[in-house]
């Protein structure tokens, strides 16, 4: 395996990355967070391992937006394993390699065990947290992209729309401009980017999909 990472999810959505071994892993998780699609998202939603041994030439097309960017970053095989303890679904373990190829049976079995250990560990950390709060270890080690939610609040106020729609506008802007969602969000929070139905269309000529 070339790299690995762990994503926490809830309510069918990626919530943040707890850790990743390298830059490509980080990007693979970032893409799934930005786009809401990819092997981890599917593994979490379907509760079964999601295996794509040849991302550059997949047997069946899937994850249209995720695929191109992940391949460009150097991922050739991507594998998502659901992190569960009993009926509780916590997130997904994300594995990638820089050359195509299926997992061996042993690797597959190891990944299942690792995903369960990761899930148990996250729950153990959270067990010591005060009620209603995130465990300090999770908060410190993980990147939950809180700027994105602050920016969604600001854009909601700018456009007089619900925050869920504002998040869609932010994602659309990031995708349309080929930028990271988190970078776009930081610009909004720093007030160098406003969404008021004119400024966010910069550069001119690009069509901003409306939510």
């Amino acid at each position: 395996m070339t790299g690995a990472g762990i994503m926490l999810m809830s309510g069918d959505m990626p919530r943040g990355s707890v850790c990743s071994t390298d830059g490509v892993s980080r990007l693979i998780e970032q893409l799934q967070y930005d786009l809401g699609e990819g092997p981890c998202v599917d593994a979490y939603r379907t509760n079964i391992p999601v295996l794509e041994p040849n991302l550059a030439i997949p047997a069946a097309p899937r994850w249209v937006a995720f695929q191109a960017s992940a391949v460009e970053a150097g991922a050739r095989g991507v594998f998502g394993f659901p992190m569960t303890v009993g009926a509780a679904r916590i997130g997904a373990l994300n594995l990638y390699r820089d050359r195509p190829g299926a997992l061996t049976d042993d690797q597959h079995a190891d990944a299942l065990v690792m995903a369960e250990v990761a899930a148990q560990t996250v729950l153990l950390l959270q067990a010591d947290a005060p009620p209603g709060q995130l465990a300090a270890e999770l908060e410190a080690g993980a990147d939950f992209h809180f700027a994105v939610h602050q920016a969604a609040g600001m854009v909601a106020a700018q456009l007089e729309i619900p925050v869920a729609q504002a998040l869609v506008r932010l994602r659309a802007h990031a995708f349309g401009h080929g930028r990271d969602l988190v970078d776009v969000a930081r610009d909004v929070v720093a007030r160098t980017l406003r969404f008021d139905n004119t400024v966010d269309r910069d550069p001119p000529g690009e069509d901003e999909p409306t939510a």
């Binding site: 919530r15 209603g132 709060q133 969604a152 600001m154 854009v155 925050v163």
Partner: protein, 246 residues
Amino acid sequence: MPREALFASTLVELADTLVADFDVVDLLTLLSDRCVEVLDVGAAGIMLAAPDGSLRVMASSSDTMRLLELFELQAQDGPCLDSFRTGEPVVNDDLEGSSDRWPQFSIEARDAGFRSVLALPMRLRGAVIGALNLFNVELGPMSDSDVVAARAFADVATIAILQHRAVHEAQLLNDQLAFALNSRIVIEQAKGIIAERMKIDMDEAFRALRYHSRNHNVRLATLAAEVVDGAVRAGDLDDPPPVTRR
């Protein structure tokens, strides 16, 4: 149904509870009923330890058995308690000879019509979670095959209960995790709305949110959700006192 078939089908029934979600009391009631049907015993009962470590009667094959178990707990003496405390089986073939060991219990048990008893710990490795009690109206030991079968029932039930507890606890923790994460997100969203509307930065927005939540004794996440869905407007929040020192 022949005895062996009944035994096998009981194990299958008990094992079924390992997959589906199940009710612990239902499982233990099933177990105590099957003990009487499959094994050569007059009555069966199960006690489980509560979180504080004290035993509770969870299931009994008859009312007489239930009363006897309750009595055992009240008097704090009897084979079930001994088995739970030691983690070992407690065999008594003749309750008449056990007045020294369990002075009060042996009288009550004989009054209820029982002559012999076997108590098995419900145990997985180090953890003893309760005990299974089998009472008989006859004198003398249970047959070896009955003891083996009872042991198997107790083991399967123990695994099912421990599994159920682990799953339940994980579910609870995960709900807490999701709740904490969602609370955090809605607070960040509210900060963004307040910062934009009041033309202040994120720290000031958070101070305003926190000040208002304390003033009105509303939970931070609840107030944040009200700001996000528009029930509370940013302009309506109490002005926090100015920061005098940083």
